[in-house]
Subunit: 239 residues, 2 copies
DNA sequence: GCGCCGAGTTATCAAATGTTAGCGCACTCT
DNA sequence: AGAGTGCGCTAACATTTGATAACTCGGCGC
């Protein structure tokens, strides 16, 4: 059941049987959320952190004028709010974009891992660091990439991340979001989001129908995106 | 000499004398950089992490067309690349925006802290988590705030962060960046950056001359920015 | 079968933002 | 003093992006 988590953490360094057992003991309390439901509420002080087993979720903030911005997309094997363990107060919400099955990690157990299992602690820390690296990549995309390039970059990132946890199907992956939701990822209006999607489609590098994205030309997609996966730290080495 | 670091980490939870000593032992090897110099090079695999003692630095990425995007600003008391300890490879550079005095933390010593000092480890982890929280706030600002609001938000954030490490002077702080550099923070052209700055100036909430920003109306500035400092985790509690 | 509704799409116009160019001022170097 | 230079600032125009509205299409309930 924690296979996604093991795949995710295990891609960076080897996970011992003992560590896998510790993680197994850490995770308890499965929950399900319908699409559109809040998994974690902004302003709350959760006593546990949430791991996604199945589904797509997103962190978001809402502004006074009603504008919403997603700050990340979370796939199976991702902790959506591991940092709440130390940050204490959620300054944003986490929403299920599709039906989500999650499992909870008690903060007191996380704390005892930091007291007793330094290497596993470093791997969990690393997990949050990669989160930060993804944030930085998004900032660059929002600030200096063309919108088409930004979208292409997002697809590259999602494809690679989903591949790690075995949620791709050849060159396709499931992307259960509307164009309006995607607009809240890129920070665009819905109309312009549609124009950008059309442009990327017309360039022939992707197809997108029935909530499924198919990469038709991986080489060219990476080129448009200037995609360099270094920031995802996908090499296995001692940490 | 590590006063800024103690102020920075100590704002979130108390630092014992022992922990302060561990940090003192961790930090060694002072360096200086001129404005414009790279403190850490993109693509490198540093053996140490860098703490700013004095000056302003920034993380950045450069795209193929020459466009540059800053992904963070770093002030005294900040680690600019603490995550390199676990991420291993730098996927971006860090540049000194003003003359910078820094001090280095050996990764092997950082590692031994994670083995022996769980509470201090959590505080260092927390430091990187706040980094991430700032990134998320920047993403929101880039995606959904007006440019004037984004700039106002940046000033709010810098003022509060500099206050923590005692680098403000009443309602003023030193900001040694050109408008072109600021444009690379907000992701704007220089010309439009100038327009946005003019607009914020004309609203009478800030003054900015001689590399010094003065907040004339803190209340109104926060209002324009919709600034909520929750994400900076400035409350002292057990972590 | 009919009508409603959400999502995608397109058109039109307005506003925001970028590009290119040029001016002035303070500073520095000689 | 004179020339060069970096930086702030502005103008004119081009391009991108947003707002509003309308149309289509498919799913779904009645």
């Amino acid at each position: 059941m924690l296979e996604s988590l093991f795949l995710n953490l295990g891609q960076h360094d080897s996970l011992s049987d003992e560590e896998q057992a510790l993680l197994g003991n850490l995770m308890a309390g499965e929950r399900s959320f319908a699409a559109g439901q809040d998994i974690v509420a902004s302003g709350s002080r959760p006593a546990y952190s949430t791991l996604i087993l199945d589904g797509l979720a997103a962190r978001y903030k809402v502004l006074a004028d009603g504008g919403r911005q997603f700050t990340s997309l979370q796939v199976p094997g991702d902790f959506v709010d591991l940092y709440a363990f130390l940050l204490k107060t959620m300054d944003h919400g986490v929403i299920a974009l599709s039906p989500c099955r999650v499992i909870l990690a008690d903060h007191s157990k996380l704390r005892s891992i930091t007291e007793r299992a330094p290497h596993l602690t470093r791997l969990l820390w690393l997990d949050t660091l990669i989160d930060g690296a993804i944030h930085r990549e998004w900032i660059v995309a929002m600030g200096r990439r063309s919108k088409v390039s930004h979208l292409a970059h997002l697809f590259c990132e999602l494809f690679v991340r989903l591949q790690v946890v075995k949620r791709t199907n050849d060159m396709s992956f499931h992307l259960p979001v509307s164009q309006a939701e995607l607009a809240d990822v890129l920070g665009l209006s819905v109309v312009h989001m549609n124009r950008v999607i059309s442009a990327l489609r017309n360039s022939g590098v992707i197809a997108w129908a029935n909530h499924t994205v198919t990469i038709l030309d991986w080489q060219k997609l990476q080129q448009i995106a200037e995609f360099d996966p270094t920031y995802l730290s996908m090499t296995r080495e001692p940490r």
